[in-house]
């Protein structure tokens, strides 16, 4: 609970904030030492990078997304967040694409390590969608929920200030409603914004969020405001670009590992790995050792990797997953089936990025549907 003047701000409350006051929110975050990351336009796409001014945001823009297709379009209004998600996800700030784990130097006794000690940056994420909050929660389980905790992820995660934005526009490849991951934001964000034509409705998620909002002049939101927010979310949920029937999905995939559809997808799949790069939950990385030419100093680096490469499963001289079929099957069954066994949730949050950014337009909702239609459990002939 935070008191400022006559107001008392607590988690659970909703407030109305004039849209231009978002600038003050950004400024307050920067005063507290955060680097604010938010959506901005670069190279014809809405990506995530540092923002300082409101004008950095893609105000008045939207995106058209279909399988293998992404275009920006101007809207007829000045909506701040009138677009879905782009090729970037927040994972690059929590699970760095390249990270030096340490330097080793030869000494009389062999070698010694100087671990990397750079303090992790303090980020505030502005514009985190419901699906992305779920994705971050999923990565939390991957990197911090098991017998070992990843120090690299944890150091970055602990510092993040999260400002969520609830989608009022559903993207062409979105299916969060099918996955139960949106458009309503789950708990975990410090503040949750919903954009209405004239105003942001700001829901306070945490004490930290309350403290920040206390610095911004706002008026309490009304019951009518809350109803409008609910209605907008329902409308968004109804206008998803895609559907995925996730009923018993792990069991469906596990009993169809030899389904001919995998061969069929393999004919189209380039194994380029785009899907793994844009997916907000794909976490695979490799660990590389490099040394300088003199051999006096060595560095250990971790770097994003993709299960689509042939080198990924190199064991005793050759890859285990040699064919494109095996590699595509691995990715999809990991994402939609094994993930449950490993982490207790699906790995997919329905953001649709893999569909949009696949160069040949492979759509996993179609693939799942195709397998379901000709599920081996339906046919009398056992494989």
């Amino acid at each position: 609970m935070v008191s400022l003047g006559s107001r008392t701000l607590t988690p659970g409350q909703a407030w109305r904030m004039e849209k231009t006051r978002l600038q003050e929110l950004l400024d307050a975050l920067r005063r507290q030492g955060y680097t604010v990351i938010g959506p901005r336009i670069r190279d014809g796409a809405i990506i995530y990078d540092e923002i300082q001014r409101l004008t950095d945001l893609p105000i008045g823009w939207t995106d058209e997304q279909e399988k293998g297709y992404y275009r920006l379009k101007r809207r007829e209004d000045e909506t701040f967040f009138g677009f879905a998600v782009g090729p970037h996800s927040w994972k690059q700030f929590l699970h760095p694409p390249i990270f030096s784990l340490g330097q080793a130097r030869r000494n009389g006794q062999g070698f010694e390590w100087t671990p990397s000690t750079d303090p992790p940056p303090r980020y505030a994420f502005l514009g985190v969608r419901a699906c992305e909050l779920h994705a971050i929660a999923i990565l939390d389980r991957v990197f911090m929920g098991g017998p070992y905790v990843d120090p690299v992820y944890r150091a970055r995660r602990e510092a993040i200030f999260l400002i969520a934005v609830q989608c009022t526009v559903a993207g062409g490849t979105c299916f969060c409603a099918s996955m139960g991951t949106g458009p309503k934001a789950p708990p975990g964000a410090d503040l949750v914004l919903t954009e209405l034509p004239d105003v942001f409705i700001v829901e306070i998620g945490t004490e930290r969020g309350a403290a920040l909002l206390a610095e911004i002049p706002c008026t309490p939101a009304t019951e009518a405001d809350r109803s409008v927010v609910e209605a907008r979310l329902e409308e968004t949920a109804r206008s998803m670009g895609r559907q995925l029937d996730a009923t018993d999905l792990p069991a469906l995939l596990y009993r169809n590992l030899e389904h001919p559809r995998w061969e069929e997808v393999a004919q189209r799949c380039l194994t380029c790995g785009n899907c793994t790069m844009v997916c907000p939950t794909c976490f695979c990385f490799t660990v590389e050792d490099v040394s300088d030419l003199a051999g006096a100093q060595a560095e250990r680096v971790r770097r994003w990797d993709s299960c689509f490469t042939t080198a990924f499963t190199y064991t005793a001289g050759r890859p285990i997953r040699q064919s494109a079929k095996a590699r595509y099957r691995q990715w999809l069954t990991h994402k939609l089936a094994s993930w449950w066994d490993q982490f207790g949730t699906s790995g997919c949050v329905g953001c649709g990025r893999c569909i949009t950014w696949c160069p040949v337009g492979i759509d996993l909702t179609e693939e799942v549907h195709a397998i379901r239609q000709t599920d081996s459990a339906l046919t009398s002939e056992r494989r």
């Binding site: 080198a311 190199y314 001289g317 050759r318």
Partner: protein
């Protein structure tokens, strides 16, 4: 080497142990217990396949003599196994050698008489051939696995 000893050996040997007692007695009549000194041949390539060997104790190697390389050992059969099935198929001729590697004792059945009894008693024939098929299948499976050379070093990996 009494009939009783042979009968007991047939009762113990995995190939015949659950055979009808009557058949065991019938086979005991056409069998002898033989001990082989190390390095002696039980059978030789090209000769008439006139015996069926049930190995009671010891170790037997299936070999092929190759000029310039000598006798090459391909597989071994040990106590509880059998050696030789060419006696059951025309032209009843051995295709390989079989040599005792250590002192080896076997129940040796006279093949001609065994074939005669099998042609008179279809049930006996079926029983023996079915068991023989199991053995041959197992040997073939093992041979195929040997061919895979599973412990060979992996191929050179191209640099990533």
């Amino acid at each position: 080497m009494s009939k009783a000893e042979i009968l007991e050996a047939l009762r113990q040997h995995p190939f015949t142990h659950d055979m009808d007692e009557a058949w065991k007695e019938s086979l005991a009549e056409i069998a002898r217990l033989q001990t082989y000194v190390p390095d002696t041949l039980l059978l030789r390539e090209g000769r008439a396949a006139d015996a069926f060997f049930l190995i009671v104790d010891g170790l037997v190697a299936i070999e092929m003599f190759v000029p310039e390389r000598g006798s090459l050992r391909l597989q071994t059969a040990s106590a509880g196994e059998i050696v030789g099935w060419s006696w059951a198929l025309p032209p009843y001729r051995w295709e390989f050698d079989a040599r005792a590697l250590v002192e080896t004792t076997a129940v040796v059945l006279d093949a001609a008489q065994l074939r005669a009894r099998m042609s008179q008693d279809c049930a006996l024939a079926a029983w023996i051939l079915s068991r023989l098929l199991t053995v041959v299948a197992g040997r073939l499976k093992a041979t195929r696995l040997q061919l895979l050379d599973l412990y060979a070093p992996p191929p050179e990996r191209r640099p990533a």
